[in-house]
Amino acid sequence: MENNTTAIRIFFSKTGRAKYISALDLINCFQRALRRTDIPVWHTQGFNPHTYVNINLPLSLGTEGIRESMDIKLTSEMSYSDVMDKLNAVLPPDIRVTEVARPVKKHTEIEKSVYEISIKCNMQKLKAFLDLSAIEVEKKTKRGISTVDLKPHITTENITDDGFVLYLPSGCDFTINPSLLFEAYEKYSGEEIERIDVVRSKILCKDGSEFM
């Protein structure tokens, strides 16, 4: 029964200590947070009802995100700002709701993630690595391990001495986890990356627009 429910999209950041929360634990965390509020949230029906929460694009463990989103459904009216304030009052300090809005795009339209990478390593080697004509890695899929060439899937921008912007495919069809690229780099260079922070700053749709 989904009569009279309104879907809303909650944009949030997941930074600092919260980057170690796995995708599954994050759902649990939001469900509990919602139960700590009086937000009129819709529960799945059936034998074992639970609070409905849909994370639009899971973030991999160890990665921060500043424009993540999830959808819930309201069973009665509540203003977007109330939902935001109530959630922020009960969420852990490193997860913050930044905006609540009406969903514009479907999560199936998602195609790319934009990551801001700040990194401390041998930049000469890193640049040479990114310029290779092929970057072959082993990728685990549902059907087992296969070899993928990352090169055609990655785009980089603004390479400086301490970082760059990285575009990688994300979504229902095909996803590349940024850690694949950096593991490949460590293998290539034979050196351990001294320090790396990966922040997902944007999620893009197939038509090139930002996921809203």
Partner: protein, 617 residues
């Protein structure tokens, strides 16, 4: 600093969120405004420690004082410990991520004996010497609390002080004392001598222990004004005892992932093997109103969709039906599950049984502990076959089809007839199942879980020997043979490992000399002994050889009533004479009525200044 180092290693270890804090309701304070910092250490992993109610209570209590800051610390699993050592990360508090060696207190809760090597690991990982005598500075003060303190002798050399009994008040008194020392100065020795004057505080270095030629304890002599007997602390007004309004809610799944409300302390039953049943006396309850309020507060502050009632025997709550009705009124409306571990349902009205059935329950569990009524009388386990059958009938009619039964092997006076009775009982339950018309469509399954009896201090069985490995092996084999000969498909038998059981037995009734074994085993790589995958029996065996300590002397020897026990300077507020009389009654196969029916005369009522119950009204 530590945060940056952690960022380098956390993605390489299993379930990193348990090593980084930041959970909802965890307490962050401004260091510059805090006078006393306390590292509350649970000497086992996060998943286990975070499930422990005592820690939640004391954590919230200390943090309720604005100038005290209590943080949580757990035992890292080997992958994390290795990564920490490689990267020079000392053990840190989960809230501030600061090294705990700079804290004022490092407090361990001692819930079970098999965690002792973890304590040494954690002290070492913190960058501290494991022996108290090698830690010359006043701070950090390394202290211990919890049930194992009733005989802390095997670990006495590692600790500066212990707290005997309930910690709610005495913890704060110790922190106050530390505060005056911080302001006025003083040495560790001066602090410990002062602390020993606080009721419930045991400073082991202020007691000399001498031994007889036969290895038994000759005398325990206090010095520097320490009391001859350390008196256990109890909270007299239990209904108004501090109880937290919120719990830290972990990100990762832990063992007991729910809110927990304590309904009563102590136990009226007096099962003779059960240490908890004696050391947590006297029996005290919270009022219904208080309990329901705490259920509400915790549900609302944690967001958990399950709440559990906690006590040694919730069925003994004086108005259990009324309590369950009041709680389910709230939990049903909220869509919260109420879980009731170890609740006897045989005396309940149909209406309450229906209410409980609406609660999600995992299965039906009984702990008859012994197969025959004779042996149940010996151990004073007041559950009869009729009680079990009655509960099973109710449960089977409600659709249950599996029963779990807990037994102990090696109980005093046990014979093979008592073992055979375990199988007979299982058979009767199976027969009962097939007489129930409304039973489930599934076949019945019974699982029998066998543990080995461990004699514990402050129980009537503290004088008894633990059965030897040969005896236990023989009894296990006997039971397995008769189970397999008939009805084996429906009955599943599992048992505990003797190697860990005997360690527990040695530590439980050990004296100070046993610390050498613990140190040696730890030095050679033992830790996480309660985990099958990490337990290293051959290193333990070698440690006993290296230190010349005889397991059998501590575990398998009958102790006379007049022997000085290593724990005789602990006063649990009931008398040794009572334990002796209970021991004699056990050998006469005589039971003792539970406390509500008739006072058994243990002597605990003296600390209350009145009878525990109103009799004859």
């Amino acid at each position: 600093m530590i945060k940056e180092k952690l960022d380098k290693i956390l993605l390489k270890v299993q379930k990193p969120s348990r090593y980084i804090g930041g959970e909802v309701n965890s307490v962050i304070k401004d260091k510059s405004k805090v006078d006393i910092r306390y590292a509350f250490c649970f000497p086992d992993t996060y998943d286990i420690g975070m499930s422990h109610l005592g820690m939640k209570i004391l954590y919230s209590l200390k943090n309720s004082k604005p100038n005290y800051w209590c943080e949580r610390v757990f035992m890292p699993l080997p992958d994390m410990e290795e990564a920490m050592r490689e990267n020079d990360i000392p053990l840190y508090g989960l809230e501030s991520l600061d090294p705990i060696k700079d804290f004022d207190f490092i407090g361990f809760t001692l819930q079970y004996e098999l965690c002792y090597t973890n304590i040494l690991s954690m002290l070492d990982l913190a960058g501290l010497s494991v022996y108290s005598k090698d830690r010359k500075d006043l701070f950090p003060i390394v202290m211990g609390g919890g049930p194992c303190v009733c005989n802390a002798e095997p670990i006495a050399d590692f600790f500066d002080l212990f707290v005997l009994g309930e910690g709610e008040e005495v913890n704060l008194e110790l922190m106050e004392l530390a505060l005056t020392f911080k302001k006025n100065g003083g040495t560790k020795q001066e602090f410990l001598e002062k602390a020993a004057q606080i009721e419930g505080v045991y400073v082991p270095s202020l007691y000399d222990v001498s031994y007889n030629d036969d290895g038994t304890v000759s005398a325990i002599t206090p010095k520097c004004g320490a009391p001859a007997k350390v008196k256990k602390r109890i909270i007299a007004d239990f209904d108004s005892v501090y109880s937290p309004d919120s719990f830290v809610v972990p990100f990762t799944q832990i063992v007991h992932d729910r809110s927990v409300v304590e309904v009563l302390r102590g136990c009226i039953r007096g099962c003779r093997f059960c240490q908890a049943g004696f050391i947590y006396r006297p029996f005290r309850e919270k009022s219904k109103k208080t309990i329901v309020e705490q259920v509400k507060n915790l549900t609302e502050s944690t967001g958990y969709d399950e709440v559990s009632l906690c006590s040694l025997s919730t069925s003994d709550y004086s108005d259990i039906e009324g309590l369950l009705c009041d709680i389910t009124d709230y939990t049903d409306a909220k869509g919260v599950n109420l879980s009731l571990p170890s609740l006897r349902i045989d005396n309940f009205s149909d209406e309450v049984v229906k209410k409980i059935k609406s609660v999600r329950q995992s299965g039906l569990t009984f702990a008859p502990e012994a197969g025959s009524q004779r042996l149940r009388d010996v151990i004073n386990k007041n559950i009869t076959e009729e009680d079990i059958m009655k509960s099973c009938k109710i449960a089977f009619e409600g659709g249950y089809s599996s029963v779990k039964l807990y037994f102990m092997l090696g109980l005093p006076t046990e014979t093979l007839d008592d073992i055979a009775a375990i199988k007979t009982l299982a058979d009767k339950i199976i027969d009962l199942y097939y007489t129930i018309e409304r039973r489930s469509k599934r076949g019945i399954s019974i699982s029998i879980s066998l543990s080995t009896f461990i004699p514990k201090p402050f129980t009537p069985f503290e004088f008894e020997p633990q059965a030897t490995k040969e005896q236990i092996d023989e009894r296990q084999k006997y039971l397995l043979d008769i189970v397999r000969s008939k009805g084996g498909k429906r009955i599943d038998v599992s048992w505990s490992h003797y190697e860990t059981t005997i360690l527990e037995a040695v530590f439980a009734r050990g004296d100070r000399r046993v610390s050498a074994v613990i140190y040696d085993a730890w030095k050679n790589g033992c830790k996480l002994d309660g985990w099958n995958e990490y337990f290293k029996p051959e290193i333990w065996d070698q440690a006993f050889i290296n230190t010349g300590i005889d397991k059998a002397f501590y575990a398998n020897r009958t102790r006379s009533y007049d022997e000085t026990a290593p724990w005789d300077h602990m006063d649990m507020l009931f008398t040794k004479d009572f334990l002796i009389s209970e021991n004699k009654k056990a050998h006469e196969e005589k039971t003792t009525a539970h406390c509500r029916e008739k006072c058994a005369g243990c002597g605990i009522n003296k600390c209350l200044g009145k009878a525990c119950f109103k009799y004859g009204e």
